[in-house]
């Protein structure tokens, strides 16, 4: 039987809630699978507001009432955000997890992943958000502490603004010290005989000044970096994605068939949800997806929500600008083996836009087809696991 685990830390607006509800319903009885998929959805951070928001609450109630679906809310964060009472009284099917509620949220998540990925020796967090501006690094520490407590080796892959975790000398006056937390985690894992594998993407670290060229040698060296995180090429980090262990991030999930990844390399689905240029999310997601495919991981890029703007119109980079033309990136990589592109039709329809004629190789997908991408029903033991990451 297939099972999926999702973690959402960021806001879930009504558009995402609608298509997510529809694919959950599609995976549980409308033809994509002979039997329902066991789905566990863990909510923390800003995602918790969607449980009480009138625009999204009905969909959560519909989803959480499905017998094969469990929605688990982080009790500590509910209390922090003043949501505890409304969720207890208004969301009868939502399971609340905390110290006084059947075990800590993060330990429950680790236990779920350990159960799905039978025999795994490690579990990883892909961190794309910077400390202090975002609370996601705090969740990363809680998750990886739970990983260590469960007897697994913690792995951390920092990417995009997540590489700011590297910065030496962090001294937040009001927040948990993320740099110190990572160093302590690496030390305690080593003491327990479980080596931590903590890495930062070299492209992202170079851009942010943590990996500087030594003019004497012509090679880059770490600058102002904490111990415990090694700067590595993205392809080395992505090589870990071929392994038989769970990887979570601020938004996304995994589907396994039977227990664990099995003999085949897990597939990857990258969901591009942001517009193309004003943040690094779209480029970062696309860059990671292409590199993964070139590293032998079968990868599907799905443009969805505001991510569909990457495909609309004809983009032209001004001569004095230094930025990748996202449409050109897509056009020249449609021949990369194991890489495919898809666009979510309801997202296009909602915005009243179409895709550029030059991008005809981007496949249009409905919610049912999206459900098949995410849950890929198939024979137990022969269908590869699927990793899903939202950018």
């Amino acid at each position: 039987m297939a099972s999926s685990t999702f973690l959402f830390c960021d806001s879930i607006y009504d558009e995402r809630m609608r298509w997510f509800r529809d694919i959950i319903l599609a995976s549980n009885g409308t033809g994509t699978s002979a039997e329902p998929v066991d789905i566990r959805i863990f909510l923390t951070g800003d995602a918790l507001f969607s449980l009480v928001d009138a625009r999204t609450r009905p969909a959560w109630n519909a989803v959480s009432a499905i017998p094969s679906v469990q929605v688990i809310a982080d009790a500590d964060e509910l209390q922090l955000q003043g949501l505890y009472d409304p969720v207890v009284s208004g969301c009868s099917h939502v399971l609340i997890s905390g110290a006084d509620h059947g075990g800590l949220f993060w330990e429950r998540l680790v236990a779920a992943l350990k159960d799905e990925w039978t025999g795994t020796k490690s579990a990883a967090f892909l961190l794309c958000n910077s400390p202090y501006m975002s609370r996601v690094p705090v969740y990363m520490l809680r998750f990886l502490s739970g990983v260590r407590s469960a007897g697994l080796s913690p792995e951390l892959y920092t990417y995009l603004d997540g590489v700011h975790t590297l910065h030496d000398g962090q001294r937040p006056s009001e927040f948990e010290n993320i740099g110190r937390g990572v160093a302590a985690l690496a030390d305690s894992a080593a003491l327990a005989g479980r080596d931590a594998w903590f890495a930062a993407c070299s492209r992202c670290a170079t851009a942010r000044g943590y990996y500087q060229m030594n003019p004497g040698t012509g090679f880059c060296e770490p600058a102002s970096c904490i111990q415990g995180i090694t700067i590595r090429p993205l392809k080395e980090i992505l090589a870990r994605f071929s392994g038989d262990h769970p990887i979570i991030s601020h938004g996304g999930g995994m589907t396994v068939h039977g227990k664990g990844a099995g003999a085949r390399i897990p597939h990857l689905a990258v969901f591009i949800t942001y517009p193309p240029y004003c943040t690094e999310w779209a480029f970062g997601g696309l860059s990671l997806a292409i590199a993964a495919a070139m590293g032998g991981i079968r990868t599907t890029v799905v443009f969805i929500e505001d991510g569909v703007y990457a495909l609309h119109g004809t983009h032209q980079v001004p001569g004095n600008d230094k930025i990748f033309n996202i449409q050109e990136m897509i056009a020249v990589t449609t021949d990369v083996e194991g890489l495919s592109y898809a666009v979510h039709v309801p997202s296009l329809a909602e915005r009243g836009i179409g895709i550029s004629g030059d991008l005809s190789l981007v496949r249009e997908v409905t919610n049912d087809e999206l459900a098949r991408i995410m849950f890929r029903p198939g024979l137990e033991g022969t269908t590869p696991a699927m990793r899903i990451i939202f950018f």
Binding site: S202, R203, T206, G216, T217, G218, F219, P233, L234, K235, S287, I290, A291, M294, F324, N325, E328, M329, V332, T333
Partner: protein, 77 residues
């Protein structure tokens, strides 16, 4: 064969990842008229992993060491 990419001086691609350099080159070469070439600076790793494989795709690839871990690469069509 003439350089069309940069009429003044070759661009520095040494800080691109191998994947992003591959994408950049595919974009540049797709716009390159036959008989012309692109010239740029790359690292040894980029030369080996990304630039050299273009010779198997019908392009003429050459490089010259300019400094420690810095090569001037030319790819012609």
């Amino acid at each position: 064969m003439s350089d069309v990419m940069d009429k003044h001086e070759p661009r520095d691609f040494t800080e691109l990842t191998c994947t992003n350099l591959m994408i950049k080159l595919k974009i540049l070469l797709s716009k390159l008229p036959t008989g012309n070439q692109v010239a740029f600076f790359a690292t040894r790793e980029q030369v080996d992993n990304t630039c050299a494989p273009f010779s198997g795709q019908g392009y003429q690839v050459s490089w010259k060491q300019e400094a420690e871990n810095r090569y001037l690469v030319r790819i012609g069509k």
